[in-house]
Symmetry: C2
Subunit: 361 residues, 2 copies
């Protein structure tokens, strides 16, 4: 087949112009005599690429000057351990609001290091909503409050930053960063794996209010220390330089397309198209998430008869639509519609869903 | 310029056929409808790529069945912390033999977790040799003995595995893995960042004797737990899949070229050429490492007059030779001559060095 519409949840579709540029520069980056993946991370070429990626990311996401940006290898899950190590004293309380699978994962990374407190959880209701703010039980002495801004598997999204008072709010934005304007100042830490909205797999970013870096945290290896990483320009050890370069290309593409305001419009249009198709299918398709908490990025849905799952996936592939199989935790289907997914791709999906329903309804 | 001979220490030169294949597959991997960097790590395409890379790596390096192979993001420095967390009880002694900069780095990663013991160090002598085995002070109750098989900056290499008795030997092989036959059975853990001999930056491998995974280690986040990573096929979280794919291509190229026996011959030939040029230069060039400990991978050298450093680097670049600037820790020059560097590249370098010496001698 030629390039399909790829609804994979991450690694996910990249903008085709980004892939074409990477392809063109694969043997030699500019006149450097080598590919960017072969050049020293300390050399002038990569240092320029890295600095430009940071400047562009700051512009795209709107990162205030009193926030540092770290580029990290190892993915968002690693950061879920490192935020505890860097910002909580050993055994200090930390409040977690759990709205899906990744919030639960965050608990397991922090558990050895903090007095873990579940301030609220949607688990008993099957993660179909964000627990009402009034019902959260926050601790006054918490090191931070942690939320998962968008749950990639359960398709539950915070539509605004909750007010948590004086305790800093930490948020995993892996699957929704740069999809709409974000008021970073409302957060102490925003972190994200890049492989959904920011670029390729294998790199992540941590945006942290600088004053938080004055916290002592707890004993940890140098390589786990955000302050040392910041002092070393995120190059305490060899960074994933090709991934960083690809992130830079993707961010530049997003800026050229109109930035987060434009992607907010597109995300709204794409997700509305899809939810409308699901809700208007007379129960042939189903999404169980409360309307106000539905994710604009990840749309999990179920066919009314699970026996139709395999034929649905096979026919979708035939139609040039891939990556629709739901995560094994939930089953069913999932369409991830990040920034690199054009509206046309979602329209092709909803057209296909209508046609499939006509044939099997 | 067109593609130069790239002597960068890591990220380092990749085999051109590997880059060409990656270039060709950048828009679409086989008939998958997407690039490998865009496909789900849980999908059949990437799962096959990952499994094939492991099988090929096992064959290339000669990994016995009673050893597990983990593919890890985050680089070798991260593993220096994780080996302590996974294999030492909190505060248990661990013996370190320090033969250069990266051995020193290893200390800082383990320090918070073990009773750190420097069994031997070449630091007082400027890291010009491997301390004689007879002088090591090993602890009977150590969790492990750690060495850096090849020091990328100081150019000091263990030419054989030291006998450390019953305590398992852990070795950082980042810059020499797959450069010659390796008796894995002599080691408890062999770990390496891939960006030198194994492929691209942004991924590493940990080869571990399975019985060691029965050790309790000490409290740690799930994501830091080798047992959990192994149970999840190194996909406890989203792995750096493109980097893994590139590692696979590079390993396949090495197998096709003749495997580690062939690269041992090439490495011997390349390093001999270079050391002969240095030693025969009547002091114009200088390498201070004891002959028996000289690295076959990284050859640091100094010009007799540091004022010639900048002209040397500029003229080298003119001649299509890049990445020769020494690490800031040592200064001077460094030629890294990993598996992807052909003998012709080293010959071009020695020709250039002779010519430069004639002009400036």
């Amino acid at each position: 087949m030629s390039r399909a519409y790829n609804f994979s949840a991450g690694p996910a579709a990249l903008p085709e112009p980004v892939l074409r540029q990477a392809q063109q520069e694969m043997l030699e980056w500019r006149a450097a005599g080598a590919s960017i993946v072969e050049l020293s991370h300390r050399g002038p070429e990569f240092m320029a690429v890295a600095a430009e990626a940071e400047a562009d990311l700051r512009r795209l996401v709107g990162v205030p000057d009193d926030y540092a940006v770290l580029f990290v290898g190892g993915g968002a899950t690693t950061q879920q351990a490192l935020i505890a190590l860097n910002f909580a004293a050993a055994g200090q309380p930390a409040d977690y609001v759990v709205t899906g699978h990744w919030g639960r994962t965050a608990l397991r990374q922090a558990a050895p290091y903090v007095d873990l407190r579940i301030a609220a959880s949607g688990e008993a209701e099957g993660f179909r909503d964000v627990p009402a703010r009034a019902d959260w039980r926050l601790s006054e002495d918490a090191a931070y409050v942690h939320i998962t801004a968008n749950e990639t598997i359960h398709g539950v999204e915070f539509r605004e930053a909750p007010d948590v008072g004086e305790v800093p709010l930490f948020a995993d934005f892996s699957s929704s960063i740069a999809s709409e304007p974000l008021d970073i100042a409302r957060y102490g830490v925003v972190y994200a794996g890049a492989q959904k909205n920011l670029g390729p797999v294998g790199i992540g970013v941590v945006i942290v209010r600088r004053e938080l870096l004055e916290r002592a945290g707890q004993p940890r290896a140098d390589i786990f220390d955000y302050r040392l990483q910041l002092a070393a320009d995120s190059m305490l050890n060899t960074p994933p330089s090709w991934n960083w370069y690809m992130l830079g290309l993707t961010v530049k593409w997003m800026l050229a397309e109109g930035g987060v305001e434009e992607f907010a419009l597109r995300s709204a249009a794409k997700s509305e198209l899809l939810y409308r198709e699901i809700d208007g299918s007379s129960g042939f398709y189903r999404n169980d998430v409360a309307a106000a908490a539905r994710s604009r990025m990840n749309v999990p849905f179920f066919l009314h008869d699970a026996a139709l799952d395999a034929p649905f996936l096979a026919a979708a592939r035939e139609a040039g639509l891939i990556g629709l199989k739901g995560h094994r935790v939930l089953g069913g289907m999932r369409a991830s519609i990040y920034n690199a997914m054009p509206v046309e791709g979602v329209r092709a999906l909803t057209d296909f869903m209508q046609e499939f329903r006509r044939r099997h309804g």
